[in-house]
């Protein structure tokens, strides 16, 4: 019998198709390509924004012009022509839907293909979904029910119109425009996103969920998410992403800000499956995302991410542990295949006393991909008794891929305790042989081994997401075994 070698595995993996590569045939209202002050004014005008927001956009744009694209990440990509991107694409429908029945059937079909039929979602899972296609949020479910508890969950544009005080007070406080190149760009041209506010002492009874999808060709998606948990509040937020298959590269530069006030807790989970490009590395999403949360006293923020898509991922969901006794967590699985690049990790900034952080990162590389963990644990002078535990594991599936770890530690307080563990392993031929000798097919065996390897992280996802993530992992890695 022919030996099933690593090369065969690599070939099988290469031939995996992207399963979400359909394009929805919906008329888009797209503004001309290019980036200048007039475009920004146009976006702001189309969204009927207040003057302060336009001023903030223009100031961000001015700062962006003076900034340089960061080059320190371990990623390679064709440089982006920012003038060739259309910065606004809305499905052509001017008024917001009154009821679910009013929604364009084609758009509904898209959602069904994504596996998130609203009806199903509403009936079965109790998940409230805010669906963002290209740049406009098209439907938000469960809003009434949440409203009874005083919870605000709506599109960012709607929040700007209806809750301008909250937006003005918190937007840009965690990630100011000058933070980095892509954050500045986002602050200038962001189009929509989600907004969530949980009032004092309220425990949000359901998982809040947003599904992002890039549909129109030649567009970028610059969404903006702001989640505020007031004192003692709790929220669990889910974010899923897909994009259709296109030969061109599309840019996604999002900003997500989380604010956990005293005693509050926010759990933020992402399953990212943007189109990764084909097996030769053509096309795919450039995913440059800034995500950060701030914890006040006794607050907790927990990031969980499963990253399987995008041609290039540049993403570091971080926690500023400002208040005493606050807790930050980061659980990540990043899978790269073919020619994908992922440079992802977290920053844990310990400012308060007795602050604690945990980092569990699992990288899986296949094909010719490069997968890097980059993390910073920073203990400031006043962070007495700060604690950090980091564990970074890498699993290699082929001999042509790479796994890299860049952990940075800066400690200015002698009472801090910081632990870092790292392992690199190769998917074991002996493990596969053992599974197969028990009658398990190669595909199922790889699924079992990989899911076992990621278990610590998958366990942190809400139930319905964990199932999806497991399938996605298996889908991204399994070869059709011949």
């Amino acid at each position: 019998m022919k030996k099933y070698s690593e090369d065969d595995l690599a070939t099988d993996l290469k031939n995996q198709d992207y399963k979400f590569g359909f394009v929805s045939d919906i008329d888009s209202d797209t503004i001309p390509c290019g980036l200048n002050e007039d475009i920004i004014r146009l976006i702001s005008e189309k969204k009927n924004e207040p003057d302060w927001l336009l001023a903030s956009r223009l100031s961000a744009f001015e700062q962006w012009l003076d900034m340089k694209e960061p080059a320190w990440a371990h990623v390679k990509y064709k440089s982006i022509d920012f003038q060739a991107i259309a910065y606004y694409a809305a499905p052509k429908q001017t008024k917001k839907y009154e009821s679910w029945d009013d929604v364009d059937p084609e758009m509904k079909a898209t959602m069904t293909k994504l596996g998130i039929s609203m009806v199903e979602q509403q009936r079965l899972t109790g998940v409230a979904v805010d669906f963002v296609m290209d740049s406009v949020s098209v439907a938000t479910s469960f809003k009434e029910k949440l409203g009874e508890l005083g919870i605000i969950f709506c599109s960012f544009s709607e929040a700007v119109q209806e809750h301008p005080d909250l937006v003005k007070r918190y937007m840009g406080t965690v990630i100011p425009p000058q933070d980095n190149y892509y954050a500045a760009l986002n602050s200038a041209v962001f189009t929509d996103g989600s907004f969530c506010y949980i009032p004092k002492g309220v425990r949000c009874p359901m998982e809040l969920s947003t599904y992002f999808r890039i549909n129109a060709g030649g567009t970028g998606q610059f969404e903006r998410t702001l989640v505020i948990a007031d004192e003692g509040a709790y929220a669990s937020y889910l974010e899923g992403c897909t994009a259709p298959q296109r030969d061109e590269n599309q840019l996604h530069a999002a900003v997500v800000e989380l604010i956990a006030l005293e005693e509050a807790e926010i759990k933020y989970s992402t399953v990212q499956n943007w189109y990764p490009g084909d097996k030769n590395g053509v096309g795919g999403i450039f995913n440059f995302v800034t995500k950060r949360g701030v914890c006040e006293k006794n607050a907790k923020i927990s990031w969980t991410q499963v990253e399987t898509g995008s041609a290039v991922t540049w993403k570091y969901p971080s926690c500023i542990l400002k208040g005493d006794n606050s807790i930050g967590e980061f659980y990540s699985v990043a899978v790269t295949n073919n020619h994908q690049y992922a440079d992802t990790g977290t920053k844990m900034v310990h400012l308060g006393k007795n602050t604690k952080s945990t980092i569990i990162s699992k990288g899986i590389s296949a094909g010719k991909s490069q997968n890097s963990y980059r993390g910073l644990v920073q203990i400031h002078k006043n962070a007495v008794n700060a604690r950090n535990f980091s564990q970074c594991d890498s699993l290699l599936m082929s001999s042509e891929c790479g796994a890299h770890t860049f952990p940075y530690i800066e400690c200015k307080n002698p009472t801090a305790k910081i632990e870092h563990e790292a392992t690199t392993s190769k998917i074991g031929e002996d493990q596969l042989f053992y599974c197969k000798q028990r009658g398990i097919s190669e595909e199922k065996a790889i699924g079992l081994i990989v899911n076992g390897y990621c278990k610590e992280v998958l366990n942190k996802l809400p139930m319905e997401f964990a199932v999806e993530a497991q399938k996605l992992l298996t889908l991204s890695l399994e070869g059709s075994v011949g």
Partner: protein, 249 residues
């Protein structure tokens, strides 16, 4: 059940098995003994279908089917089980989940429906008692952090769960103390029926006090050079392998 004719196998171009013949019928227990490097573990690996070995000549028939034409998992599904000398750890995958996947794949191959959760758990309970396996081991990750003895017991537990036609025990006695040996052996004996068969590969006669073989074969330099009853094992224990080496050098 198993017919091996003139089997030649090599690894990295080096010949290990050089014309091995063996026939095993239902209900029989065979033991293969031999000095280090004789090819005992190679035989086990070749039967299971390990891809590092190349079969250069000969044939293996299992229940009349050409075993060499089947991939590893189909050999297992046909009813061939290998209890590993060094069981492999699979972190994060629970023993129960692993076995459920395996059992249902085997059932699907046989055209049977997956076992219900209730029936499966009942089976786990029943079979783990057979090898006195601590029930907490059933829910732990496959072999992870198991002691040497626990790993071997777990192999026999898996064998009990999957109910193979032919079980090959590769040096199952290595690393076992006398109590563990007794438990493992009694598990194997309890699973014995008129329809299935066992092939015990071992260095020492010790295990054969507990699992009594119908036939003992001596493997030397890639061939079976002597076959006898259980007394042959005692003779080997007493005299060592040198006289065999001298005869066949």
């Amino acid at each position: 059940m198993l017919k091996i004719k003139n089997l030649h196998a090599s690894i990295d171009g080096k010949a290990i098995l050089k014309g091995l013949n063996l026939e095993i019928n239902p209900g029989e227990v065979h033991a293969i003994m031999g000095p280090n490097g004789a090819g005992k573990s190679t035989l086990a690996s070749v039967l299971a279908g390990h891809e590092s070995y190349e079969i250069t000549e000969g044939e293996i028939l299992f229940e009349g089917k050409d075993l060499t034409a089947l991939p590893i998992e189909d050999r297992a599904r046909e009813g061939l089980f290998l209890a590993f000398q060094y069981p492999v750890e699979i972190p994060g995958v629970s023993n129960v989940n692993f076995l459920k996947t395996a059992l249902n794949e085997i059932r699907e191959y046989a055209g049977l429906k997956p076992l219900s959760a209730k029936d499966f758990l009942q089976l786990v309970k029943e079979k783990s008692a057979l090898v006195e396996l601590d029930s907490s081991l059933a829910t732990r990750s496959v072999n992870e952090g198991f002691s040497g003895g626990e790993k071997k017991r777990n192999e026999i537990f898996q064998m009990a769960m999957l109910n193979p036609k032919l079980a090959i025990l590769d040096e199952t006695d290595s690393g076992l103390d006398i109590d563990a040996l007794r438990i493992v052996a009694s598990g194997v004996n309890a699973l014995k029926t008129k329809e299935n068969a066992t092939l015990v590969i071992t260095h020492y006669q010790r295990l054969l006090d507990y699992i009594v073989p119908d036939f003992v074969h001596v493997l030397f330099d890639g061939r079976i050079v002597k076959t006898g009853g259980k007394d042959l094992a005692l003779e080997l224990e007493e005299k060592g392998y040198d006289w065999i080496k001298a005869e066949h050098a």
